[in-house]
Each structure stands twice: as C-alpha cells, then as structure tokens.
Amino acid sequence: MIRHLTKYVGKANLLSKDGFLLSIILPFILGLIFLFAFDSLLEAANLTPAKIVIEFKGNAEEKKDVEDFLKEMGVEGRLTDQGLEPITEPDDEDYLIYCFGDDDVEALLDEGSINAKVWIDNTDKKMDMEIYVPSNKANDRTSFMAYQILNSYAKSYRNLIKNTEVLFAQAMAGRDMSSVEGLVERIKDGIDTDDIVYTKEKEGINGFTHFIMATLGFVCLYYIRVGVDIVRRNEAYIGALGKRLELSPVSKLLRVFASFLSMGLPCLLATYLLLLCYWKRDVGLSLEYSRVILVVSLGVLISIFMGMAIASLFKLSKDNVSVVNFLIPVLGALFGGLMGQFGQALSTWINENAPLLANLNPANLVSRGLYQLSFYPSYDSFYHTIKIMAVYLAVLMVLTGVGIGRVKE
C-alpha cells in the first residue's frame, strides 16, 4: 500500500498544475545562479590603482629615487578635467596612478576623483612625507593601499640612507665590504612576500569560499516549504488530493510517510545534482564526496522535517504558511552568514553567544560542516556537527510524529 501511495502521490504532484514541482527545481536553479555568480568572485580580488598627486621638494637626483620607486609600483598619469588619467594603461601589478605637480587639487579631492595628495620632501634625502586623504576616501581600501606602499617605501628609504652612512663610516674604519655588496644587491632586487610567508591552504580557496558553503546551506533550508506541503497535502480540508488520500486504508502517519518518500527524495536528488555542478566548477568545496553528501543530505532532511513538524504541530493559516515559507529561509540566510560581511559577523556573534540558536539553523549547520571538511585538520569537529544534526533530525521526526498522531481520525 505504501508503495502504491508513494507512486500515486509522486505522480499526482508531478502532474499537479499548482506548481509543486517548482519547489524542487527552483532551489536547484537558485544554487546554479549563485554558483555562476560566485565563480567570478573566487578569482583573486582585483584592486583598482589608487590615484595620487605628489608635490615634490628636492633636486633632480632626489626626485629620481622617488620616480624609480613609483615606476615599479604603478604608472604615471596626467591631470585632466576628469581627474587623473593614466598615460599608459595600468596592469594587475600596478597599484598607483601618480603625477607630480603643485596644482590645487582640492576640487578633485572633494569630488573623489583622486585618492590622496602627497607632499614629499626629499631634500638631503630625508624623505619626509605627508599624506592627505579626504573624508570621502577615508574608508576606501585603495587609500589604505596607497598609504601602506608609501609608508613602507619611506621607512625603507630612510633606513637604507642611514645604514649607507654607517657602512661608509665602517669602510673608512677598515671593515671588509666584500660580503656587504651581495647583501645590498639582494635588497635592491627586492624581497618577495612569497619568499617570506607560505600557506598550506588549497589554491583558490579564499574568503568567498565561505559564501559557497553558506549558499548550499541556504538551498538546503529552502526545502522547508516541501516539508510544510507534505503535511498540508495530507489534510482533507486543504484540497482534493488530501481528501482522496484520506480514503486510503492506512493511518495518517503512513500516508505522510509515503508523501515524504515521493516528495522528499526528489529534493535530495536535486541537491546531489547541484553538488555535482559545484564540484565540476571546483569552487573550493571539499572533494570528500561521501562526507559532503552526508552533511548536505542531513541539511535537506532537517529542513523538510522542520517544515513537517511546524505544519503538523500548528494549524497554519494561509498567511502564516507564507510567513513560514519565507521567514525561515530568510532568517537562515541572515544568521547563516550569506548576507555579506555584516551577515558573517552576525553569524559569528550567534555562534559565540547563542550556540543553541546557531545549532537550530540548518543553513548554519550545513555551512559549518562543509567548512570543517575543507579547513580542519581532523574530522573531530565535523563529526561533532554531524552528531548535532542527527540528534536534531531525530527530534524533528519525533515532533512530526507527535503532531500527526495527536489528531484522531
């Protein structure tokens, strides 16, 4: 009978004109849109060059030192009515567009056409620098970058000049300079950051990987609607299907179970298909297939049973069904870290200060489990998350059973 009911409910929903099939297909499409969109974000974040105007004090030789450095770090520009335009097109390795001049650039600063004005006094190679960043560019990351580059250069330059003087004095005092020459050459060549730091992390994994995991968590949570529908479609007062199912010679619990098999399993299949697309695009998702499938399956089942528990325990009006259908996924996304950096901060705050609330959010559990698989050195934390999910699922199943069983037929 169960087999017959499963087939019957499945067919009825598949052919239904009310669009139930969409509740399975649309999360899959949404997951694909996010994947497509994140693909470009996962590439290294490109910084646009900072635009600076430099007022210089010093002779030609002192100016050449600064020019040489600036040529390494960016491209020269010229002031036009539109602001500071580069003479040659900057590439990915150019961090600055600069020009020398003592023009009044206050208007350009006010309108945000340039990031900063810099005063450099290199008289007697003292390399005094002053920078002015207008308030409208105070939070711009390119302004921070320009400051950091110039600050680093000024420090190294002054330090090198000071040490050159010391070396000269040492040479006069009879120090053998043969070993120093090689060291100076090495400093002139510059020290690459890649030579002094290393990471074990996989190439291509960055801060945006977290959003991929949060997206999968959100897609899982979206299936809460299917859970609500599984129960409501078995209610005789909701529609014709419910009336027909009520006539079948099995208990309501078994009818709901049959509906779960016919409506819940396609959700799992759609999610697996989505996972396949994520793996194919290599967006930083762990390649431990079985564990990823485990955590995502639990996420989908928790969401479905959450919907079933809510629909069976509370008599929902049409308005409240719509509230449940949009409120829980939106809150899940908000607390699950999908809503930008602010959302991540909120999600972290909840993880820290309200762990119970964090553990109640399937989107959060899924993204946490996926993160643990990708970044943690052992499986301890991952299995801890899996245990929480398993217990959570069991509780929701019991609640659904209680909710369905309390109505006498």
Partner: protein, 400 residues
C-alpha cells in the same frame, strides 16, 4: 474603486507578513548600523585595529621573534594562540582572530643568519588565512616591511655575536619601523549619519521593499486569475482594463506609502541631514527611484507568476540573489559577471548611484550627470516592467 479597496483589504489581511518583514528589517538594521558606525570613519586612520592577529610563537624567548610580534602589535591586536591547528582554524572560523601567523622554532636565528649571508634563503613564516582577503594582504605587507627593514639594518652589523650588538640592531629596527608618514587631517567632513543612511539603511530597506512588494502584489494578482474569481467578476460591471488600472494604482500607491513611511523613519533615526544636505537629498532620490523600479519588477513578477511556489521563490531566493549580487549587504559594487546578472533589477543601480554620491563632498557636473543616468535607468526599468506587465495582461484578456 472596488478593486483598489479590495487590494488594500488583502494587504491588511496579511499583517503577519508585514510585521515579520518589519521585524527582519530591524534585526538587520540595528546591528548593521552599530557595526558600520564604527567602520565608516570620516577621518583617515591607516591603523587597522579591527584586525586581530593570532600568533603561534614556536620561537619563544628569541629576541627577534619577540621584536616581530611587538611590531605586529603596533597596528593590529595580538592574541597568543596555542599550537593546535584544530583550535586555530576554529578561532579563524569564529572570527576570534582575523588571521594567523605561525612563527616556527628557530625563526629569529634563521632570519639574522639569512640577513648576514646572501647565500642563505629567507626563513618562511606559516600563515593561515581568515575570511577576509584584505586583512591577509595587510598582515603580509607588515611582515614584508619588517623583513626588508631587518635586512637593511643588518647591513651595518659586522659581528652579531658581539655582546649587545643584536639589541642595538633591534633597537634600530624598532626606530626605523616606528616613523610613519604624517597624515594631514581633512577639514571638511562628510556627515556620518547621511553615510549610514545611504550605505546601510536605504540599501537594506530596498531588500525589504522587494519582499514586501512581491508578497503584497502577488496575492491579489494570483487571486484575480482564479477561475471562480473571474466568473464572479464577469457578472459585475468592472471591465478588465478598469480592474488592471485599479490594481496598478493600488500597487504604485502602496509602494509610495511604504517608501514615504520608511523615509520618515530614516529622518527620525538619522536626523535632518538626509534632507538638508546635498548628499542626503541625492540619496533620498536614489532610494525613491530604486523603490519605483522594485515596485515595477514586483508587479511584473506578480503578473507572470503561475503559482504561489514561483512567487515564494521570487520573494526569497531571487530576492536574496538580487540583493547579494547588487552589493547591498556590503555597500560595494561587486563587479564582474555577478553584477551583470543583477542589472535587471534596480538595487545594483541604486548601489552604484549611492557610491558616486558618497564619494564626493561637493558633486561636480560630471558626477551629477552620472548619477542622473543611474536614476534614469532605474526609472526606465520600473516603467518597462509596468509596460510589459500591461502587455501581458492585455494579451491574456485577448486570448481568453
């Protein structure tokens, strides 16, 4: 005006949805406002004190490694972490630390040896990246600056084993790294309340407007297409075009009321700057055009929506995607393919317009013209969605 009245009665019957949306908005705006007030500095401050560097020091007691940690502590907050990778990753995930620096055993000794012998390679520091790439780049640049200055300071050291020589060199290192370039402070500052309105309140409000409009326009639109409703309607004197016009009036007037009420709330929340300052007035206009465009999009989606499943998808899934891809949650233009996809809705144009508006203390003619273009795009999108919806409605009437 029967349909118009019915439209508002239906909206009032969905008061739970409206209350929940207001609740979500407050849940978002209160913490975001608090966080962004700390972040939106109107004076330039290059010290990124919000960065917490987790240090695993396996070279304890070495003066060079201690000197390096002291230097990192000057511009970031330092937290000493035990050497447990699991714990370290956990702290990064929970943002207790922004980034981690693992100083290996013998690092200090290896660094001075490399600085004194050109044939030795620089020792490496292991890094663990956090969730924010810009913070990782900042710490990398600090490490790079430390090592390059260390090499320069080592040039004048002829015998490191001489007593006190290393201390002397580390002192010189500290001095050379402490002298930052001067910062001239801005005399004219932007109003932080206006910035918060433009980059937080009005953008988050657009997300809520979208969900509210979809849910409010969708229910009557679906109901009007129900067979029983249509049969009953045939028996009344209301023509199809009159019904559609009234529905349109209901949707636009409701959008206007919602926008006016929320702008009034913003006025009470953020003071009068949003109306008295040029920047504020442009931001309010930007919000108006974006809301108009969103109401048009919601009207269109409600018109084409075949059932409530599709409507919920548009409300939740598509809404989240549009707002995320538009950069509403981050207040930035994400660029690339993601923003191209999101260009069919107004939030991305609102974000772009707002970014131009807040980037300038006094707007130039070129900027005003750029902002006007964005406003026109939003207006055109709204009109286009309404126009297409009317075409669909007419086609449906003719085909029936």
């Amino acid at each position: 005006m029967q349909v118009l009245k019915l439209f508002y009665r239906l909206i009032l019957s969905r008061k739970n949805t409206i209350l929940v949306l207001i609740g979500i908005f407050l849940l978002m705006i209160i913490p975001a406002n608090y966080v962004n007030r700390q972040l939106f500095d109107v004076t330039f401050n290059p010290e990124m004190n919000q960065i917490i560097t987790g240090i695993v020091n396996l070279d304890k007691g070495d003066p060079i490694s201690e000197n390096l940690i002291e230097y990192l502590g000057q511009t970031t907050k330092i937290v000493e972490v035990e050497n447990d990778e699991e714990r370290l990753v956990d702290m990064l995930y929970n943002q207790k630390i922004s980034d981690a620096v693992i100083i290996p055993d013998g690092y200090g000794r290896a660094l001075i040896e490399a600085a004194l012998d050109k044939d030795r390679e620089s020792p490496s520091i292991e890094r663990k990246r956090g969730l924010f790439p810009e913070k990782s780049i900042y710490i990398d640049s600090l490490l790079s600056m430390y090592v390059s200055n260390f090499y320069v300071n080592a040039l004048s050291v002829d015998n490191i084993d001489e007593p006190g020589r290393l201390d002397e060199m580390l002192h010189a290192q500290t001095v050379s790294l402490s002298d930052d370039i001067k910062i001239k402070q801005s005399e004219r500052e932007a109003d932080i309340d206006v910035l918060l309105y433009g980059l937080t309140f009005s953008l988050f409000a657009s997300y809520i407007y979208y969900m509210l409009f979809i849910s409010s326009f969708g229910t009557p639109a679906l109901a009007m297409r129900e067979k029983t409703v249509r049969i009953r309607e045939k028996m009344t004197a209301i023509s199809d075009s009159s019904r559609n016009v009234q529905f349109f009036l209901g949707c636009t007037s409701f959008s206007l009321i919602v926008w006016l009420l929320s702008t009034l709330a913003a006025y009470l929340f953020y003071d009068s700057g949003i109306f008295t300052e040029e920047m504020g007035r442009f931001l309010v206009l930007s919000s108006f055009f974006s809301t108009f465009g969103l109401s048009g999009l919601a009207f269109f989606l409600a018109t084409v929506s075949p059932n409530s499943y599709f409507l919920t998808f548009c409300e939740v899934g598509l809404g989240l995607f549009i707002t995320f891809a538009s950069g509403i949650f981050t207040g930035t233009d994400m660029g690339g393919i993601i923003s191209k996809i999101a260009s069919f809705a107004t939030p991305i144009w609102q974000v772009r317009a707002n970014l131009v508006i807040v980037s300038s203390i006094s707007l130039t003619q070129a900027q005003i013209s750029e902002i006007s273009n964005y406003f026109l795009i939003m207006l055109a999108l709204g009109l286009a969605y309404y126009a297409v919806s009317f075409v669909i409605m007419r086609y449906r009437r003719l085909s029936q």
